[in-house]
């Protein structure tokens, strides 16, 4: 049998696939190179710590930076417990062929395929208009408090968007825990719930953290789900309550790109803002990876 590489057609395919692979690197290099080149100079302490001014042509990104952090943290608080509990039900309790388990699996798969803008509309219709207005009616005597776009609703909408990621990664972690570990616990007279809590979940910590990492990096850059549910064009003050609106880097980039009275004047700020968003996502990822590595090490030497 002749080797593929010794034939002209084989060589052609090798070259073609190598070119395709190389183009991926090139594209990333061009994106990053351009952004770093144009944006790095604008990133100063003043830029990071001040609010935009002069109709978005000056000032900094502090409110958007803070808002992004707050949004992602609230989202994580919502999505991790919900996702982990769902995964526990699916993989530890439900029989895999049961109707409910199949329904949940189909729902998870389809949830992952829903366009982000649809989540945004859902968030507006369900959280803001339905849940929020009803809270206002029941608790605030009809006065407007939660029945409007707010960081709470935006983070919950993002949580829905990132839920499948957390469920799938947690499920993989649960399945990776060997059956003998569960049996050892059950054989000692532990209940199933005790076994999950004290034996299974501790061995899943790094898997759950991976899910949180992926959720955060997915959620941090999304604009569509938050533009109707809580992100604001411009706010001079930071959100201090769950029902406040907030600025967010991704949305801010959208605003700078499309709403500026003078595009050329806005451009340097735009580049710097994009770079800040990228650095923030990388930093969040890096932090989460470090936490995960620590956990892995501590499990190994516990």
């Amino acid at each position: 049998m002749r080797r593929l590489g010794s034939q002209p057609i084989g060589l052609f395919f090798i070259a073609l696939s190598a070119l395709a692979a190389l183009s991926v690197v090139l594209i990333l290099a061009i994106i990053l190179g351009q952004i770093v080149h144009e944006g790095w100079g604008g990133i100063t302490w003043a830029f990071l710590s001040s609010a935009p001014d002069k109709g978005m042509r000056g000032g900094g990104v502090w409110p958007a930076l803070f808002g992004t952090f707050a949004l992602v943290i609230l989202m994580t608080i919502a999505v991790v417990p919900l996702g982990v509990l769902t995964a526990i039900y699916l993989f530890e309790y439900a029989r895999p062929d049961s109707r409910l388990a199949r329904a949940v699996n189909v729902a998870v798969a389809n949830l992952a395929g829903v366009p982000a803008i649809v989540f945004g509309l859902f968030g507006l219709g369900f959280f803001v208009n339905f849940v929020g207005r009803n809270i206002d009616r029941l608790l605030y005597g009809g006065e407007l408090a939660y029945g409007q776009p707010a960081i709470l609703w935006a983070s919950l909408t993002l949580a829905l968007l990132t839920l499948p990621v957390v469920i799938v990664t947690t499920g993989e972690a649960l399945r990776a825990v060997p059956m003998v570990a569960r049996e050892a616990s059950l054989a000692l007279g532990a209940t199933k719930w005790q076994t999950i809590l004290k034996v299974v979940l501790p061995q899943c910590t790094s898997g759950i953290l991976t899910g949180a990492i992926l959720a955060v990096s997915r959620g941090a850059g999304e604009v569509a789900p938050i533009m109707f549910t809580g992100a604001a064009y411009f706010l001079p003050s930071l959100p201090t309550r769950l029902n406040h609106q907030f600025m967010e880097l991704g949305y801010h980039i959208y605003v700078l790109t499309t709403q500026s009275p003078n595009v050329e004047e806005t451009k340097p700020i735009l580049y710097s803002t994009v770079l800040v968003l990228l650095l923030l996502t990388f930093a969040l990822n890096a932090a989460a990876i470090v936490i995960r590595a620590r956990f892995r090490a501590s499990v190994r030497t516990a």
Binding site: E183, A184, S185, L188, G189, A190, V299
Partner: protein, 273 residues
């Protein structure tokens, strides 16, 4: 062997024999049929195991001996689609009765697995796991339990200076003795051992066997083993399983020197299996 007269083995074909009178043994299986879905794994098995006596279950792979062992602490319950007919008694009470609390049953009937499976926790936390889930919180009580059970498992001397280090850092034999200690920590009455030494070297195996010998005074021990010499060394009673049937059950000495049935002799002498 005194009271250890061999239970008569019903090698029946389909009919339900008369229910044997309870012998007052610690563990007693009566006419047990067991199914995984439609596959029958055990056929009319009746067997009794008593305290201060080690009962060995032997037979070729797939003969049902592990299935039988896992009936006694209802570990098979974890598998969907199982069905049991007949009864398994612990102190004369049917452990498959609907009133039985499986969690409490498993506390009374401890189990040691084929592959040592300590939790990825410290040595101390492994032993304290059982008492803790059963509500022991007091540190000094736990310290006492950890020390005494590790001593009973002949491991205390080797680990007393490093109780806080990982159980996974122990050798295979030490891990298995730790698993025995972990099982003993909840004060079971019966100890089930599923090929506890099959993954160990001869020296570690000897230690486990010695331990079994010491423990048998206080516990009802039932051990599944592939190793014929091991069965001969550690057990007082031996049950030979083949294709889901209990072929012969009797004092180990008799099974190994003068079995009643030809199949047993063939297996023991290595002509088959």
């Amino acid at each position: 062997m005194g009271a250890g007269t061999p239970i008569r083995v019903e090698t029946r074909a389909g009919q339900n024999g008369p229910t044997p009178a309870t012998s007052g043994a610690k563990i007693e299986a009566m006419h047990v049929d067991f199914f995984y879905g439609k596959t029958q794994a055990l056929y009319d098995v009746s067997l009794a195991a008593d305290t201060s006596r080690v009962t060995a279950l032997i037979g070729p792979s797939g003969c049902g001996k592990s299935t039988f062992l896992r009936l006694i602490n209802r570990m098979n319950d974890l598998i969907p689609g199982i069905r049991l007919e007949g009864s398994v008694l612990l102190d004369g009470e049917d452990i498959y009765a609907s009133s039985v609390d499986v969690v409490d049953l498993r506390r009374r009937v401890g189990m040691v697995f084929q592959r040592s499976n300590p939790f990825p926790k410290s040595i101390y936390d492994n032993v304290a796991y059982g008492p803790r889930i059963h509500g022991v919180r007091d540190r000094r009580t736990l310290d006492g339990i950890v020390e005494s059970t590790l001593e009973r498992a002949a491991l205390w001397g080797e680990v007393k200076d490093r109780l806080d280090s990982s159980a996974l850092a122990l050798s295979g034999g030490q891990q298995q003795r730790l698993c025995i200690a972990r099982a003993l920590a909840v004060e079971p009455e019966v100890l089930l051992m599923d090929e506890p030494a099959s993954a160990l070297d001869p020296l570690a195996t000897a230690k486990i066997e010695e331990l079994i010998h010491e423990l048998k005074e206080h516990y009802t021990i039932i051990i599944v083993t592939h190793n014929m010499q091991q069965a001969a060394r550690v057990s007082d009673m031996t049950a030979y399983f083949y294709l889901g049937h209990l072929i012969e059950f009797g004092p180990t000495v008799q099974i190994f020197t003068n079995p009643e049935r030809q199949e047993t002799e063939d297996y023991i002498t290595g002509r088959f299996g």
